[in-house]
Amino acid sequence: MAAEQLRKERIDRGIKVRTEGIYALMSWRELLYLIGPRFLLIAGMLLLPLLMPGMYWQRVVSIVCIYALLALSFDFLAHFVGLVSLGGAFFVGTGGYLAAILNTSFGLPPILTVFLATLLGAALCTVLLLPCLPMRGVYFAIVSLMYPLLLARLIEAMNILGGTDGIMGVDSFPNRWIEQYLLIAVVLIFLFGARRLVNTDLGLVLRGIKDNDQAIRASAMNITHYKALAVFIASIMGCLSGACLVHIYMWSGVSQFALDFSILPIAATVIGGSSTLVGPVLGCLILVPISELLRDFGTLRIVSYSLILVGFIVFRSEGLMVYGQRKYHQFERWTRI
């Protein structure tokens, strides 16, 4: 006798269908279904600094935001444009050093240096990455991984920009509340901005490049042009985080080109759920504090940290947000085949 075979069936919840389009205005329940998760995220982020026990953990909130921006930039490039970037450190370093130079050599206040370093840095990163954009495959990943290594060694070997000591005496933000709420606001703006962008027509073209770049060429559009635009947008997020980091640490050095800035955002994206944009932010909210808690264990910190990552990849490779969104929007039942 053949064993009875069962299959899991997933069906959209009625309320999900009802909240698509104008019907969302039918009742408070539908409105709550839409606004609830967004409100939870925004309110949670805004309350975060107030709930922290001390100065140390408030600083961790800022670092979470720095990594969240990088993870957002990674998720956007990798899952909506198809460019896997290992260059988080490249963006951070470029943005960071530019902000430090603008602040110490030109005496500009932090608010201006952050703004200028973000734009100049993003332009610089885009130009430097431009040569590998017409190619498909792993070249972009390799080149974006090499640049931070190259720049760090260059600064050390030629003893420019402060050499191994870095650039010291960078101004901090006026106070820690401004620092934290500026970063939180920036993360929220870029998160919702990126979500909006990927659903515009321009965003569709970018997603089309990931899906099928030959069809984009056949549609009379220059792929390199749009890839460069996407890299510019992603570098803006990366360089912004670097510039803010320098003002938090009041110092800019070669450690800003360290691999941590490339790897941790990717890990956070895996844990949080790739191609959700919210997921990477959530991943950073989990991963960065854990990595702070484990600081006491010295080298063992990396072990436990890696174990978390492996565990996630093996048991929940889809990531938290993908799982969460599925449970929120759909119900499951077993059906006989």
Binding site: D201, L204, Q214, A215, R217, S219, A220, M221
Partner: protein, 262 residues
């Protein structure tokens, strides 16, 4: 009577390493006609299309569009002057619903300049133009089909979506690379009038086909390729009657007799 042909291909040669895929192919495409290109597998049909549309650079030879040299221009520039193509292996955006597939070509500079399919110079609401195109090519407007995910659409719809992408660019020429292959008889039967309608709209069509019976019904002229060279050129009746064409396809006439008895 006509001075310059719409598209002129002169002595195109393309070698891949030691293999000559296309060897000195020349032909012209006249304004408003349907030209069929046939030939056995590996005879270089798709490579000719790739050379014309800029997806590969020809080793030697020239391509002229309305007398202007367009040889070796990048693919997006060639699509931008109105030479569009479909792909033999369909290339839709699988992660998007069907109608959103068209928002992408409608976003292109050419579509915005020309107004897209039948557009009068200015592009209106992209989603509406997209649905209009889908209806034209056989997606039922009032059904769920245009809103379904592309990944679950059957082959017949994907082939139509390939043509739709070309239409969104308000094309001068559509080069169809085997749009009939993989379709059922009834699906082809509904595609043939579509092709004829496009011709009546003034679009020049180049069709690469293996389904000869259906091709000969719509084509004005047929070009036969074999081993990367032009074997013959003529109207469908001449090509069908020519023994060398049969030999190219079946190897010998004996095999063809077997086919007749089967």
């Amino acid at each position: 009577m006509n001075t310059t042909p719409l598209l002129q291909v002169e002595g195109i040669t393309k070698t891949f390493g030691g293999i000559t895929a296309v060897n000195g192919v020349s032909f012209t495409v006249n304004d408003g006609e349907i030209l069929g290109i046939i030939g056995p597998n590996g005879s270089g049909k798709t490579t000719v299309v790739n050379c014309i549309t800029g997806f590969v650079k020809p080793t030697s030879g020239k391509v002229y569009f309305r007398g202007k040299d367009i040889t070796g221009k990048p693919a997006h520039k060639i699509a931008d002057i109105g030479i569009t193509r479909t792909f033999q292996v369909m290339r839709p955006y699988y992660s998007l619903p069907a109608y959103k597939n068209l928002l992408i070509p409608l976003f292109s500079p050419r579509a915005r300049r020309t107004g897209g399919w039948r557009g009068g110079g200015r592009l209106g609401d992209r989603a509406r133009v997209g649905i209009d195109i889908l209806e034209e090519i056989g997606f039922e407007r009032d059904s769920y089909v245009p809103y379904k995910m592309t990944s679950i659409l059957p082959t017949g719809y994907l082939k139509r979506l390939e043509i739709a992408r070309c239409l969104a660019l308000r094309p001068e020429i559509i080069i169809c690379d085997e749009v009939f292959s993989g379709l059922s008889m009834s699906e082809i039967a509904s595609m043939v009038p579509l092709i004829e309608r496009l011709q009546m709209d003034g679009i020049t069509i180049v069709m690469i086909e293996h389904r000869l019976r259906e091709l000969f019904r719509v084509a004005n002229r047929v070009l036969v390729l074999n081993f990367g060279q032009v074997l013959m050129e003529g109207n469908p009746d001449e090509v069908m009657a020519d023994p060398s064409v049969r030999d190219a396809y079946f190897g010998s006439r004996r095999v063809e007799e077997i086919m007749e008895h089967a």
